[in-house]
Symmetry: C2
Subunit: 491 residues, 2 copies
């Protein structure tokens, strides 16, 4: 391990930055708060994109594209939305630059001032519902099940690569329905799609639940979410799905003739996940040697490193592994054979470890003699010598084992780090000394929720679905409570 | 044909708008010059994206993502680039809105003024070369072969859906090389990728060539392009690939240690195609009945329409076509079986014709009796009754025929509409009365090129590769010329 690399125990936050940097995932750009997603990081996003896009299409959705700019006045239409979104955002006021008459490069042309300022979309409900107005006349035009893959901008003051950046990439689904029930079913369906994605592809165990009113999306009647627990015991919201009621339909006057030929406002949902998921992925699995990737999202699933001294040896190894590479590719496994002569094999071992490649195969002259190869799995760093002839089958099985094992580890970790607190002291003690999720009673008021957040820096992550009812007393106010809710300090 | 649909002969421009609208491809948004790409239009873009992305990866490129914002000062760094790009663009001056103290919704917070304005990227050379500076130290770091899929904004005054919009989607490749020769080879390689894509996927014949200095990309040493001819005889630039020399490396001080251990500036290329290609696709093949799509880019390649009166008949037809649908899907052909009971079959025929679905299969009770189906190809509207048992094989062949036939038609059209002019009168006469490409002599000066553009509204589209040398006299000035160049009026 490179000595300029922090361990999680030493400095978790620095460790995260080091993984992002050393695994070559992303970096800060010349523009405050905006990141450059480097090829290896973007390849992970492409894997996420492809898997999610397939899941969206299988559930009947289509993609579309809406403008990046939103007229300022649109934000004022929905009373809650404006509070949540029309604040820290990029504002376009002019549409032309001109040469500085004093020779100082280019300056903003004061004559090219927009009549109404435009906002770079922080989220697209407003512009999309303004569009849907023209698409919907009758119940026959419903449902509309659109998704868009796009960039959005929120002028965050404190940014961290992937976790919180001014510009980020995401998808936002925006659906329109004839009934409340159908919209709620859609909201739930998409939350389940996100949870499946998190568990099956990211190998991250998540809690599904509903947000408390304070934590709801601005403009939603209800926000469902999936919450994951990072290795430092802080929670991370990994995806949200919002039941928007008729709020945006009313704000943009989107009505339809229902089957009884009566005008009614349309019911809405929206749901999204973003490049933030890459942050969650890193913090769920990686270790003090660098990135650890679940095979389902790894751009390179298997790397084969030849150990050789002569050209002749390399040639023999290449000939040996060529059929293996073909067999693995036929199974849909992505393989890289790294015969780059300018790097030593020790350097390569470190490099692919740092980049989280799930399986490394090393093969040298002695392995050729013994008809075997050394196989190392990234999650446990365990090495085994395997018989060469059945290697393709073993590797396939190993990838599947790694995927499952990473997931299981997050389940165990979450279970081990989910506690109950019955008093304020206990609550704060757990947060300060153990972190993790804490189930505690809360009196159900936004005021208490706010006060808990202020005093303990912890928020209600969600009220889990099928949360058992249990009489109790609010940890802060002592007032009666009907159920425990899930608290944590969070990203 | 719907009577609210223009023909090409009546009003070509209106016909184009009607196709875009009636085929449900895109529409104008509430934001001036920005379009909404509707699901069917976006599905075509996805097909283009997937095909191009595969071609880029097969030629060794990787994707990455760079910020949407560019500091204003970056544009002043490269002298020619600033003239071309830092003019009509969206300028961010503020980063916060606040509630209007007078209750008028939200207003720009005057205290949240940026120290330096940010520009929404019109193209990303500047921000990318500012980034590459940190990626490149030695020849071992080269080449860098990055592509990005992104949205860009150019504040166009006159916009048309797909052809010219303020915001559009595109890909931009940005590569860095150790030698001039390698960069030029890359520029050519990518132009050939674009030409292959245009011809094999879009079924559009293109001319490959190099731009005259006036038409070069701002900041390039050379711009290569592919030019297509639309049905109204106007040319459309369908893709460009730029050899940027060391211009951006010098502007952003990107040097590397070469193999002789000497510092040298890096050589660059950039290349891009955009959603404008959808405009080219529409205008190349479509007819007075609506959109015509080449099978390789059609979201739905085959539509099957059952003709029935009773539920029982529909059931029989469904049972008959189910195995066909499976066989077609197994061949990778996208099929839609439209058994929507709320629409009449006549309406469906029109709808899929309008949407350019390459092959329509209609099947009714009599067809069942005769074990056949009526197959209609969209390009010629020709109908044939085909034996049902071999339909999958016939359809596969038909799709390939349509793809080839559409391409051949554009080759013939281009050849028939490429003329030579030897005098100014002849030149203007062809442009005014026949349109198309015109080969004519030009004295090689930017001044004459500009004058021809002013007087005849025609531009030099390109100097085709392998253009034969031929002594002659400039059509405008009569001065000596060594070769004819390709003129046209253009989109």
């Amino acid at each position: 391990m490179a000595k300029d690399f922090s361990t999680r125990a030493e400095n978790y936050s620095q460790w995260y930055n080091d993984v992002v940097k050393k695994a070559d995932l992303a970096e800060n750009s010349a523009v405050r708060g905006c990141m450059v997603i480097k090829p290896y990081g973007y390849a992970i996003w492409e894997k996420m994109h492809d898997a999610l896009d397939k899941m969206f299409k299988e559930t009947g959705h289509v993609n579309a594209y809406f403008p990046i700019f939103i007229p300022k006045s649109f934000f004022s239409r929905e009373a809650h939305h404006v509070e949540g979104f029309a604040k820290e955002c990029a504002v376009i006021t002019h549409y032309r630059l001109k040469n500085d008459p004093n020779g100082g490069g280019v300056v903003v042309d004061p004559e090219a001032k927009l009549e109404e300022e435009l906002i770079v979309r922080p989220t697209s409900e407003t512009i999309i519902w303004d569009t849907y107005k023209n698409w919907i006349q009758s119940y026959r035009d419903l449902p509309i099940l659109c998704n868009q893959w796009a960039n959005v901008v929120r002028w965050e003051m404190r940014t961290r690569l992937f976790l919180r950046t001014a510009e980020f990439l995401w998808q936002e689904g925006h659906t329109a329905h004839a009934t409340r029930e159908e919209a709620i079913a859609e909201t739930q369906k998409m939350l389940n799609v996100y949870a499946d994605f998190a568990e099956k592809y990211m190998a991250v165990s998540v809690v599904r639940g509903v947000k408390s009113p304070n934590e709801r999306f601005a403009g939603a009647d209800d926000t469902y979410c999936i919450e994951a627990l990072m290795q430092d015991g802080k929670a991370l919201q990994a995806g949200t799905s919002h039941f928007l009621g008729q709020n945006f339909a009313k704000a943009f006057n989107v009505q339809f003739l229902n089957q009884e030929n009566k005008l009614e406002y349309v019911w809405a949902t929206s749901w999204g996940v973003s490049t933030r998921l890459i942050g969650a992925l890193i913090m769920s699995h990686s270790d003090d040697n660098g990135l650890v990737l679940p095979p389902a999202l790894a751009p390179i699933q298997v790397v084969i490193i030849p150990i050789y001294k002569s050209e002749e040896q390399l040639k023999q190894i290449s000939e040996k592994v060529d059929p293996l590479i073909k067999k693995l590719k036929d199974k849909g496994i992505s393989v890289k054979f790294d015969d780059d002569d300018s790097k030593r094999s020790g350097w390569k071992f470190n490099e692919y470890e740092m980049k989280g490649v799930p399986v490394r195969i090393a093969i040298g002259p002695r392995d050729l003699e013994n008809n075997q190869a050394e196989v190392c799995r990234r999650d446990t760093l365990e090495k085994t010598n395997l018989h060469f002839d059945t290697l393709d089958v073993e590797i396939e099985k190993l990838l599947s084992d790694i995927q499952q094992s990473l997931f299981d580890r997050t389940v165990k970790f979450r279970e081990a780090n989910t506690r109950k607190a019955d008093t304020w002291e206990e609550f704060v003690d757990i947060l300060d000394n153990q972190a993790g999720f804490v189930y505690a009673h809360w009196d159900g008021t936004p005021e208490t929720e706010e006060l808990i957040k202020e005093k303990a820096k912890a928020t209600i992550r969600c009220i889990p679905f099928n949360n058992p009812l249990e009489e109790g007393q609010c940890i802060l106010t002592g007032k009666p409570s009907k159920q425990r809710v899930l608290f944590a300090r969070a990203y």
